[in-house]
Symmetry: C5
């Protein structure tokens, strides 16, 4: 279950009272390595490379061209510390980079903006990864918990130099990356939409205890998506209203579009949550209905045959007709047996008529 | 089911990281063709025609008269691209035109406003179609997913030249079109109102499992209407507060009226949702009630006859009275059988009295 | 049911795309006639009359004294059109007068204010009627769907000339009329309060399926009252903040009081809704309780007698003791019958003890 | 029940259309008399007396010292009218004094502030009484529905002259009185807290139908407290922001503290409401659980013995073995009876094993 | 249960009408003593000591270095009074220190700020302790209900002199202490997260009545955490916006981070509440499911065997075949017994087929 995954990834909470800015490493999955890629570009040039050590990126701090430094894998605390020291990042921001339970947010640290976002994927199960951004006038640094390909399409756009991306600054690059992250929600939500549709069919045809488990699971995962989605809206909104001079007017239009997408994401999440809750209600009442039907059959059969069996029981008593004329003379009557059967038939008929009138048959 | 429809129409989400402004075609229903109509009018003149290619409308971009260009069918991406290039529309707006899952919205692009609205119809089932608007100082362009007649009445008003429409600018035309779209909600909601009323009757007289399915279906569809209705209120509100010089003061009054209608739409949707939820509760408790009644009958019949059958069973035992005076001497008593029947009658009477006191009979 | 009424009264929604300001007549109840009354008054004078045709009121448009024109019955569209033309009312306002599904609202049209309010009555059933106001510097025009007496008390106050009403302008008159309409809620709500109290008694003593129907009906009607009440609060609030020079400072105090009343109305409606929901929950759980009790009796009787009957059944078998010493030798034992009865008694005792320990007896 | 009380006290709603400021008397409990006490004090002096007629307090209207006039019992309308006339109170305020269903509120009438508050007590049952305040630069007038001792502690503080009260003006006196009223909530809420705790114990040990009634009753009464508490927060907040020159800066600190108390009151009410709702859910599911257990016992006993009885029934049939070798030859078998008992034992064993595997035994 | 604890700790509400600033002692646990520690530090110096009497701390009121006075145990009212008198604290603040049911809050008293916070721990059970702060330009005084170690880590940081703490003022110290308190939530919430996970497993595998009790208990305790957490967000927010000149710009960044943590705390609490509610729903429906299954088995067994027993009962009747040819001639038929058994088999077969078609078998 996806729950497992999230918990395996979850860090212990930091010890209360710890000094702010204390960096704690993220436990690495076995065999994980840190991978640092640098793309430095301008309208006419592009330089893309994988670097071996963090020191190689320090030169880009003051280069005039736009530099995008992407770091995948955060278990090397020392590297993060060096990066922070060189670029003058606030210890609190660095701490947030390494605390992978952050809510998405944007913070203005003057020289640079610090952003926390989430990347959502549905591999075998829902996986939510944290991605941090440092955005300044001439660079964007992205830090990902683990290797992933959320940004490959953006990288391709830079390489091909189509559109505005090569002609614009780090603000547009940030927009493009945010947009890529937010657009990741849509295919995931589509899968949930299809699951809900399938469940509605299942609900109509053959509801089972498993159906409810699945609905509950979907609600749980939508709750996780919601926790990621809502604050991302605020992040984009915050960027739109940021008073940084390195966010150009032209980028505002694109951020507005990106904001629209976050609203659409939230709208879909909420709709699916509503649908899932509705299904849960339908499930519960379909169980009640089914119980009703079962009870009806039981009642009809029981209430018809119990009185009949009683009559049969009476004439199965062994009172001795010979010791008294009052003792079950019916047993020796000529019409005894047909009469008894007749009484039974009448009882059954009356009861059936009663049930029909009640609308149970 | 309406769900089917929506999904058939739904596009796959665009690939995350795709460049903004990437235009994707809308899958056309078989046999669909694009239809472009132009109405160019002023207080004293009107020129209406169907044009064969998008190039024919380019001339109207700078004409001083009011031009309404209506395009039905959006699967020809190339045509949209040309239109956008000629009229200088922002790529993001064009992308939204072709992405038919947009939420209704209004965006100010300076020279023109871009609006997304929804057209709602109830043919065999609820159909929600997206309609985009480009509104500038001398033209309005509307783009519809598929051929429809939402605007026929407005077209007729232009032709007849009654009222303000011919004397006013594109702002009034936009208002008239928005108003037509919003008024489409009312007949649809009336149908839901009637369905709810019918269901309330059904609920009182003969609730069935199907009743609940129908309530659930209505709630689902009201949810879809709600998703369309709420943001349309914001669209009209946004237009009212827009600081475009081509929206005249006189039109404000009409937009206020239109805003009132959206509030009324939302109010009706919410009321119907409340009513539907109320019905669901009544349904569930009527099921409980019915179960109760069934149980009561079962209990009464069973609890009366089970002890009686036991008595009959006792006297149906085959203990040999001849082998011992203690073995069922009752069988040979003179008053044996009447006594046994009497005991049964007493038991039945006591139980009936108990049930009556409990209020179950 | 009240629902019937509302629907008989409901107009079809206007055709989407219809020109704004299109007037549609309200279907008149059989035998209905339009009644126009005029009261023209000043501190020292009063002139009250019933006029036969709408033209007779035109003269009051420019009279310096305060004039209250009250029109009951709105099925004569032509009359409304004439009135609007003479007093220069906006077509949208006139359209709203004739569309009796409006939400209460206040609109500033410059020279005059247009108000929509609701009059609530509980004759045999809940009746909600729409009343429109045109308020200007020297007149108030009220238009009622049908003949009613909501304003009789105000009329009497004008006649008697007590209090401020004769000394004040149309703003105070409007306040007095609004206040009369809002105060109509209180007796209606009192009836609902009493019904809820009665239902709580009924719920404790003898809940039935009808109880739930009644709770549901009350919730429905409170929903309708709520729809009328909430926007009326906004109307009074809107008037308080209106920047019209014909609303005097002195009237503000009274409007504030009136606003308080609307809050009180809403407060009562919400409280009653909460109480009704609470009752519904109590009802449902009292059904569960009752079901439990029934099940308990069934279980106790059944589980005691079913084993006993089994024992009786065993000794009712006809195995032939003569064909084998193993075949039911008990039947010929001296203590056979008493032993069988003893076994039964022990079984019954053990079960009763078990039930007592479970707390079921 | 507390409901009774509230209704006995409730006035009929005033007739719609009645002139504003119409004073209606409050029905007096038998034997009730109006009691007027006056405390006139300054830093160094104090004069406390009970006066016989309202005229005796008129002199204090213009006295420079702080005067607190407390009137208990409001059924003498004439007295209220005289008071209002002498002190120049607005008729609407006077009307509110006598309408004991007011929501708590504060109104600025220029020369004086008018406040409505509630006094809550839990004698045998929850009693909510209305207390009105007129606060001006040199006096505070409090009007209580009936005799009560909410203010005795404040009176004592004035007499003893400790603290700020004697050195401050009517603003501090008002604060002290408001604070006394708000602090009345705490002991009442403590009782509810204890009741909820007791109910939780009861819920765990021996839930009964009465438990639910009590939960429902508590929810009802918390609803009433909530209706009183929420607007009182607004009253204190309103006073804090009032721009009256007779509210001194120093008093603001105390009003802030008082505001804190109202928040705490609301917080407790909401928490208790949540707890009560939670208990209701637990109650309902404990009923379901219990039903389940009962059903389980019934099912086990029935499903084991019904088949056994059937077997016994078969061998209780009277087919004549002598008329055919096929007719129940088992009856004459040597091992007939033991075989039949063996079959029964096997059936019982299989069923028990099945139930054990299901986890029902 | 944790409830017990809270109630043992709870003080009686103060008597309504009591003078503001009345100090009431907190009942001390047996053997409790007040412990006063002082840490006086600057960038280069540190002086830490435990003092025996409150008078020893008075000297620090005007010392230029930063002084942190920590008082554990509040049952010595006289000591608090002396402290307040010496440092000139407002009586209302002192009263709040001793009233341990305060909501977290921050109040600006000009010279100093007064804060109320909560310390949360999960020893055997959830324990919530109140901690008050007085923060001025050169000192911070913390007052704790009972001895605790929430601040030990901060103390250690001061001793070691690492980071900013020794170089900053009381504002940073306050931040560090607040941060320590807020970070205490995380380990507590982690435990709840694990409990919820365990319960979800339990819910799937073996739900019992105890499961529901535990869910309810968790919801209760989350409610308590929520009551503590929400207002703490406001406290940090309030400090961020405080206009005190002793809160330096540099500290603002840290307070923003602290604010983020409070949001994260609330976010987790709300998510866990949602999960707990979801589990409750799943629990209830799993009970319904189980009931259904039980009913199904009962119904199948009963409805098959009841008719069969009836047939057996009929042929167990003792009508005398010799007294009439109509009296049960079947008993003497050659194929009598096999026919009867055959009829039974057919009945059983038909019913089983019916159940299979219903999907019950």
């Amino acid at each position: 279950m996806s729950k497992k995954k999230h918990h395996a990834r979850k860090q212990r909470a930091r010890r209360p009272g710890t000094a702010p800015g204390t960096l704690r490493s993220i436990e690495a999955p076995p065999g994980a390595a840190t991978r640092i890629t640098v793309i430095d570009y301008g309208p006419d040039s592009i330089d893309e490379k994988v670097v071996g050590s963090i020191e190689e990126v320090f030169a880009y701090r003051d280069s005039p061209t736009v530099t995008w430094i992407n770091i995948e894998g955060l278990h090397d605390v020392e590297m993060i510390r060096k990066l922070g020291a060189q670029f003058n990042f606030h210890p609190l921001a660095l701490e947030d980079v390494l605390n992978c339970n952050q809510r998405p947010k944007v913070e203005d640290y003057g020289d640079y903006h610090f952003l926390v976002m989430k990347s959502v994927h549905l591999r075998e199960e829902l996986a939510i990864e944290q991605i941090s951004f440092f955005m300044a006038g001439n660079y964007v640094i992205t830090l990902q918990e683990e290797a992933g390909d959320s940004f490959e399409a953006v990288r391709e756009r830079i390489r091909q130099g189509k559109g505005l991306i090569r002609k614009s600054g780090p603000d547009y690059l940030t927009y493009a990356l945010l947009d890529a992250l937010i657009d990741e929600f849509f295919p995931v939500l589509e899968v949930y939409g299809e699951r809900i549709e399938d469940l509605e069919q299942e609900l109509l045809l053959s509801p089972s205890a498993r159906t409810l488990q699945t609905i509950h699971q979907i609600k749980r995962e939508l709750l996780l998506l919601r926790r990621a989605g809502w604050p991302e809206r605020e992040v984009v909104n915050g960027l739109q209203r940021a008073e940084a001079d390195f966010i150009q007017a032209q980028t505002q239009v694109f951020l507005r579009d990106c904001y629209d997408h976050t609203i659409q994401v939230i709208d879909m999440i909420e709709t699916y949550r509503d649908l899932a809750s509705g299904m849960q209600e339908v499930y519960l009442s379909s169980i009640s209905n089914r119980m009703n039907e079962i009870m009806k059959v039981l009642t009809i059969i029981s209430t018809i045959f119990i009185p009949l069996s009683f009559v049969a029981g009476v004439y199965g008593m062994n009172f001795n007709p010979q010791s008294s004329p009052l003792n079950m003379p019916e047993l020796n009557w000529f019409w005894g047996y047909p009469t008894a059967l007749g009484i039974m038939a009448v009882i059954a008929g009356v009861l059936l008529y009663f049930f029909r009138r009640k609308g149970w048959v």
